[in-house]
């Protein structure tokens, strides 16, 4: 059985990032993360790598929730499409939270997933590749492409590609 102290530490350090990760697919990200944490508590044997395990469970739960949300939206109309804020607004931050959210939302899903999992989740590209069912190099490529697109959208000029010495 899981130590409550460890669970509290996991919530403090990773819950918000997990919620952001789940938001890439669904609007009920908090419920998905909560269920994932409860699943972790109910595990008889703790996984070797808890954080990647949590990201995997959150990803699966978010994709399932997205499917059911799509069905519900079909009946309820488009009123439920507006989602909550992805980031905590901060004065000291160099990037506006709303702008960053809008820029992220316009990225393709796989690029968003790679950026969120790497920047806020702290996962390696190998772990991201395992999550997404692809190679680490592909996950890295998604990440770089997403960053470049974000840079363009957030108003900064695109950097020159490095010249490869022949």
């Amino acid at each position: 059985m899981m130590d409550p102290e460890l669970l509290g530490r996991l919530i403090d350090q990773h819950a918000a990032a997990l919620v952001l990760y789940a938001r890439q697919w669904c609007t009920v990200a908090e419920d998905v993360v909560q269920e994932a944490l409860l699943k972790l508590v109910c595990q008889k044997k703790l996984p070797d790598q808890i954080v990647p395990w949590l990201y995997r469970v959150v990803r699966n739960g978010a994709i399932s929730a997205q499917r059911s949300t799509k069905r519900r939206r079909f009946h309820e109309g488009a009123a439920a499409t507006r989602g909550p804020a992805w980031f905590v607004p901060a004065e000291a931050s160099a990037i506006d939270a709303a702008a960053a959210t809008a820029a992220l939302q316009m990225l393709p899903l796989e690029q968003r997933e790679a950026i969120v999992a790497h920047l806020w989740g702290g996962l390696t590209f190998e772990q991201i590749g395992e999550l997404a069912g692809t190679s680490s190099s592909t996950a890295h490529r998604w990440y770089m492409a997403g960053l470049l697109t974000l840079r363009e959208r957030l108003g900064a000029p695109c950097p020159q590609k490095p010249t490869v010495p022949s």
């Binding site: 403090d12 109910c42 990037i95 960053l147």
Partner: protein, 168 residues
Amino acid sequence: MSPEAYGPELASLAQALTGLSPCAGRLDRDQVLFRAGRASAGQQSRRWRTIAAGLAALAAVVGWGRFLSPAPQRIQCIVYQRAEPAASAVDHLVAQQRPLQDGTSPAAEDAGLQTDLLSNGRLERFVFAWGADAIPAPAATLGARQRDPLSGPRDLFSWNQWLRMQPP
């Protein structure tokens, strides 16, 4: 290819993005901890419920099996036991009032012939009914049994009777 490979600008963009704190939304830390505790307690109670349900099912199966099994067949046994006829009081009275033939009372003689067949219990009943005097002496009984019947009685009264009964 890391962001640094594209220059410091992309790296600073990544750094700036990391500076944004994700919003946890409605996720309540205390609620998660409470639900986690309840879930772990529920697991234990589920284990006990499973054990109780299993035992109840076992009891039901055993009870149903007993209900369905045929009733035990009643076996009638007849035990034959040799019953020694108890000497009735009338027989003993008649035997006592019979005239003596050879010096011993008929009851004693009768009893003497059966002494070896008497069980302890019967001997006890016999003594209680007729007293210790009615028990024949083992020597007299043995002598009466070993005596030749043709040798005739011993005392005079019996001899007279015996001679009277002889054919002329």
